[in-house]
Amino acid sequence: MTNPLRKRTVLDLSPRAKVGAYAIMIAWAIVVLFPLYWLFLTSFKQPVQFTGGTYYIPFVDFQPTLDNWKYILVDVGSDTYRPYVNTIVVGFTSALIALVLGSLAAYGLVRYRYRPRVGVIALGLGCTVLAMVAVVLGTPPIVAVVSAIVVLLILTRAIGNRISSARLGNSDISFWLISMRMMPPVAVVIPIYVLFQQIHLLDTHVALIVTYAATNLPIVVWLMSDYFAAIPLELEESASVDGASPYRTFRSIVLPVAVPGLVATFILVLVFAWNEYLIALFLATANAATMPLLVAGQVATRGPQYWYMSVLIVIMVVPVIVMAVILERFISRGILAGAVKG
């Protein structure tokens, strides 16, 4: 990096531009950091200092206290510890599942052409509705689901081709996936609750992991599609000429090149699962409760207890920030340029 012969590149700015760049970046850093500083500060304030006026700097205009930290970490420590572990388990597992399945699907959608038949989709939808009506009318869920699948398979074989020959394309599949995120969670939490109640998985990690993986999959598919599409096709072509299977090409050629996108997407879905509140409120009552529930739970009858809340938020973001610091180095260039030339 310190090679004196290095030629000036597009990435080097003139001195004047550098000053401007730093000015803007520092300005936005202040915008980002000041609220966080205030939050951090609040975690060291006593309630009376919080409500009594405005204090900016510890030791100068108020005496900080560790009482809040002691209360959260020691006095009610076991109530904090379990949600903390739950959040870590649920967050990382669901983010990994979403990333793996989503990347596979994104790659499929970028490199292959799918032509699902409208008729088959209509049949599937019809069978789903029938199965649900059957369950509402008292059929055991398992019987309903199994018979719906059997009926669907038979009908698809028998008349699937005849009812409608119209076909959809890749963009329709992508759009259907993203449309699954359009429904406000408020409207779907009750059905999801009933669903997991039926299969006796309420208040377990599995319920949260599956739900978060499914809700985050569309985002992974959409983002990874664009990152994969930006990879030059020649790379994969030369691999396939060498006789590599599609899976091998994907794993050893495509994935390494897509690392910046994978890392960015992983951070995003991790954060989404980490911070989700409403679904957790329904699916996790005690054993599987996550940190957002604990944060929101700090609202007492006399109003929000900001000082405890601040402690919880601070300890909650630490693992994510550590992840971001570790992963940030992988969002950088060089990998692609070398691969194409070689």
Binding site: V110, G261, Y277
Partner: protein, 395 residues
């Protein structure tokens, strides 16, 4: 090497070329069925589709059922009565109309300009479609429905937001949040991403700092902004006091409350745009830019004609995703402003949440379904009008 056999690049046309048939045959012999490309395409796509399918279809249908019913608490449980479109009727024409759609008043000049401008654009799109020569009955009906819905939305905006004495309902307010929030977040996120790809000392530190807001749970952010906007103990309280406005509550003013929600939203979600665009920029090939620099192109020209086109596809995608997410905004209005004053800063999802808390499950589901319809129309229009232009290369 365009003519080389590319089995996995496209299952259709390439494998029908002479020569590649032989290749495929050889490979089929050497590898088992599991490894052949035909199986691979299903292996890639289906796991994800199945997971989403299993978890998404049932709640979607079930909540439609709720939206069409009236649910009453009864002894030892509740009763569900099918009431058809009564919930929707109530929302669009009945008691909830003024909350959902707002107060309609004749549009001002600005309102008419908005309405006629939007209408003219849609007419242009329709004429272009009709002249394009690929008209199908389904496409025509779909476009007619979409244009009708968008015209109704525009009419609502013109009458409530730009109406003389009109009052925006939750739908208008939500659209406001979506448009201003997404727009600002994209511009700031792109600017920050462009700055942090330059070779600057401390670049990595800035990247992590810019990422911070998204790592905090939305409920927490909402309470944090409530602390910040408190005019008794917040950090800006002395400023208000010095200006003699210590009794002025920012959140008590309709536009002040909306602005506070938008500022919170931009603070929270700019990192989303930032990190996606950053990864897009870092994954690009700089050689074209180097060539442009050698040829004497200015920085702005390089950005405008080389860098920007490369990240247009990912930009279009991230704007669509963020738009869809922004339509569901709830934490900030719920905690920061409580939807107030009155319902001035209430979003559609918050409205659904309020009726849901009052155990009007049917009405809540109807609000949510109405939002789903609006988002679907807007997202479909976006996908039809914008994505084909931005994703031409891999379409």
């Amino acid at each position: 090497m365009p003519s080389s056999p590319t089995v996995q690049s496209s299952s259709g046309p390439a494998s029908s070329e002479p020569g590649s048939d032989q290749d495929a045959l050889d490979r089929a012999k050497s590898t088992d069925e599991w490894r052949n490309p035909r199986a691979a395409r299903n292996v890639f796509l289906w796991p994800a589709l199945l997971v989403v399918l299993l978890l998404a279809i049932f709640p979607l249908i079930a909540s439609l059922g709720l939206a069409l019913s009236n649910i009453q608490l009864a002894q030892g449980g509740f009763t569900i009565k099918f009431t058809g479109l009564a919930n929707f009727n109530n929302l669009l024409f009945g008691a909830e109309r003024s909350i959902f759609l707002g107060q309609f008043k004749p549009p001002t000049i600005l309102g008419w300009v908005t309405f006629i401008g939007g209408g003219a654009f849609m007419a242009y799109v329709l004429v272009r479609y009709l002249r394009g020569g690929r008209v199908s009955p389904v496409g025509l009906v779909g476009r007619a429905l979409g244009i009708a819905a968008l015209t109704a939305l525009l009419w609502m905006l013109a009458n409530t937001l730009f109406g003389e004495g009109g009052r925006p309902g939750t739908l208008t307010v939500t659209i406001l949040y979506v448009v201003l929030g997404t727009g600002l977040e994209y511009l700031i996120g792109l600017g920050l991403a462009m700055l942090t790809i330059q070779r600057l000392a401390g670049q990595r530190l800035f990247r992590v700092v810019f990422l911070l807001p998204i790592t905090i749970t939305p409920v927490g952010i909402a309470y944090m902004f409530r602390m910040l906007t408190d005019n008794q103990s917040g950090p800006f309280a002395p400023l208000f006091a010095a200006a003699g406005m210590s009794n002025f509550a920012v959140l008590g003013d309709p536009w002040g409350a909306r602005l506070a929600v938008i500022i919170g939203d931009v603070w929270q979600w700019t990192p989303f745009m930032f990190i996606v665009l950053l990864a897009g920029l870092e994954g690009r090939d700089v050689e074209t830019e180097e060539a442009g620099l050698v040829d004497g192109a200015g920085r702005w020209q390089i950005f405008r004609h080389i860098t920007l086109p490369m990240i247009i596809p990912v930009s279009a995608t991230v704007i669509l995703i963020r738009m869809i997410e922004a339509f569901k905004i709830i934490d900030l209005p719920s905690v920061l402003t409580g939807g107030g004053p009155g319902t001035a800063s209430e979003s559609v999802t918050l409205q659904a949440f309020q009726s849901w808390r009052a155990f009007n499950l049917g009405s809540s589901a109807a609000v949510a379904y109405s939002l789903l319809i609006v988002v679907t129309v807007v997202a479909t229009a976006y996908a039809r009008l914008v994505l084909p232009r931005t994703h031409r290369a891999n379409a």
